[in-house]
């Protein structure tokens, strides 16, 4: 898992449109969204609730189709005019909002699930690799516990490791730390950065938390309210590797003010429309 590989995970979305058609009253969720994510970049997506951010992520992951435009990964077409829906695959692993570790498998079995399912590794090899990765991520000792027995923070880290073991091109994170308390969040931010610095994986991260976006992201993309489209993209020019000291720096405060102002404008619009949480 060394960083010298050819950099992968460059995502490019051109003119993506997604229209939901529940019972004939078609609702546009994504409106001509174009966005480029460099390989190895942490790209934070911020926007009001219910603005269609999750639909964007689902489209990249291949959970549903798109109506117009195209999505490419490292130049290859995931979905476009001739193939509306991207194939679901381990090159784009999703980490879900309230977690999706299989409660009936131990943490180790959860992590080893991917390689075994794809037939890349035998059961024993997958387990050994999983045990090694857990140790590296500071999770040793919890291998044989069931997810239900460990804390939610720890569960989230196991889920990230479960994604990484498949060496994905892009990590798709859908508000993974949403339901967690501030303390756990800060611990997880640091562990995510630690993993990033080792693997340099591209991370496509959706969140509501502005500070989280700026602290983690190379770039923060503020989306308009429904239907979502990139409104403004902010370059977070704070150098990596970052630690929590960054939060109090002047530059961080400036960016935070600008981003907050852009987001509030959109948040007000969607609030008046009574959008339920997307």
């Amino acid at each position: 898992m060394n960083a010298s590989q050819v950099p992968r995970g460059a995502l490019s979305l051109q003119d993506v449109v997604k229209i939901y058609d529940p019972d004939g009253s078609n609702v546009m969720a994504v409106d001509h969204c174009s966005l480029k994510v460099e390989a190895g970049e942490i790209c934070m997506i911020v926007g009001p609730s219910g603005c269609g951010k999750t639909s964007l992520l689902n489209a990249i992951a291949g959970f549903h189709d798109i109506d117009r435009g195209s999505i490419r990964l490292d130049g290859e077409v995931l979905c476009g005019p001739d193939r509306r829906q991207a194939p679901i695959g381990p090159d784009r692993v999703v980490v879900f909002q309230n977690g999706a570790l299989f409660p009936w498998k131990t943490n180790l079995e959860n992590i080893a699930f991917g390689p075994i399912a794809q037939g890349r590794l035998s059961r024993a090899e997958a387990r050994d690799k999983a045990r090694a990765m857990m140790a590296e991520a500071g999770l040793s000792g919890y291998e044989n516990d069931y997810p239900g027995q460990v804390s939610s923070g720890l569960r989230r880290r196991v889920e990230i490791v479960r994604a990484l073991i498949n060496d994905p091109a892009v990590l798709l994170l859908d508000e993974p730390y949403r339901a967690l308390d501030a303390l756990t969040k800060s611990v997880l931010h640091e562990s995510l950065l630690e993993i990033y610095y080792k693997t340099r994986k591209t991370i496509f991260f959706i969140t509501h938390d502005l500070e989280e976006a700026i602290f983690l992201g190379h770039r923060v993309v503020v989306m308009t309210s429904r239907p979502c489209r990139p409104k403004r993209i902010f370059d977070v020019d704070i150098p990596h590797p970052r630690d929590y000291g960054v939060l109090t720096s002047k530059r961080f405060r400036e960016i935070a003010a600008e981003v907050a102002e852009a987001v509030n404008e959109e948040a007000l619009k969607s609030f008046t429309r009574g959008e339920r949480e997307g």
Binding site: Q97, W104, F113, A117
Partner: protein
């Protein structure tokens, strides 16, 4: 549901629980409850001989008959016929329950998992389900050969519907995120079925099995009463027609005890198999 700490020996654990039980008043109140019920029975039937109650079999007669070495009507805990009735009923329940589970669970899983299968099969399912199982008795007697098959068929039918339905509910209850997560990790449709859908539906399947064993006894009794030979339902009906009232009550209580123990067995097996579920419940669910 308290989880016994593995480090303390099991025997010590149960002894302390027993000691606590004796101190708490609930045990005495329970005994009082039983005493009141049996007392009411004894009082109304034997002492007071109230109008409707005097025909009912008396508590002392039933107990004497149940535990006598040479019972007046041939049925007591010392006579082999008693155990033959129990075994025949249990055999029918076992066959019907096994069949209902081995057919009901797969059908339920398919109903939950594949839309095509559900579109074709579920309408028929829903049309047959409201028909009370025992309305099938005459048709079962006519269509199926022998007198054993109709009884087992009726018991099977009741359990099958209960199992299949609950299994389907189980599949429906699985959080879609698990399926998508498995797909992301490159699992094939069949592996998702085996490693996500089946384990995910397990809790509902086991509640279904408990309902199914209860429904099985419900139908078995009636089927035996109408057309069976041997079995507790049969014993109840025959001891009614031959005016052997103590045996009637013995059969009813035996049915209660045997029915209860089979359901308890199914529940215990269910809990045992789902270790992750019990531990998860103990840790109050996922964060």
């Amino acid at each position: 549901m308290s989880v016994a700490q593995p480090d303390r020996p099991l025997l010590a654990e149960t002894l302390t629980q027993w000691a606590e039980a004796f101190r708490r008043p609930t045990l005495y109140l329970a005994v009082l409850g039983y005493a009141l019920m049996l007392g009411f029975w004894y009082l109304t039937v034997q002492v007071l001989k109230l109008p409707r109650f005097s025909q009912m079999p008396a508590l002392t007669d039933v107990m004497r008959e149940w535990t006598s070495r040479d019972p007046a009507y041939g049925v007591s805990i010392f006579t082999p016929i008693y155990y033959q009735h129990i075994l025949v009923s249990l055999r029918r329940i076992a066959i019907a329950f096994a069949l209902a589970t081995s057919l009901g669970v797969p059908v339920g899983l398919l109903l939950g998992w594949s839309k095509a299968f559900r579109d074709y099969v579920f309408p028929l399912f829903e049309m047959l389900r409201p028909i009370p199982i025992l309305a099938w008795v005459p048709l079962a007697i006519i269509m199926l050969p022998g007198d054993e098959l109709p009884v087992v068929y009726l018991t099977f039918l009741a359990s099958f519907f209960a199992t299949a339905l609950n299994t389907m509910l189980g599949v429906k209850s699985i959080d879609p995120a698990y399926v998508l997560a498995a797909q992301c990790l490159g699992a094939s449709r069949w592996r998702i079925f085996a490693e996500v859908i089946v384990p995910g539906a397990l809790p509902f399947i086991f509640t279904g099995l408990q309902i199914s064993i209860g429904v099985a006894w419900f139908s078995l009794v009636a089927a035996e009463m109408i057309s069976g030979q041997f079995g507790l339902g049969y014993l109840i009906n025959t001891s009614y027609t031959t005016v052997e009232y103590p045996t009637l009550v013995i059969a009813m209580f035996t049915l209660g005890i045997v029915g209860y123990s089979t359901s308890a067995l199914v529940r215990r097996v269910g809990e045992g198999l789902m270790t992750w579920r019990t531990r998860q419940l103990a840790m109050d669910g996922r964060g």
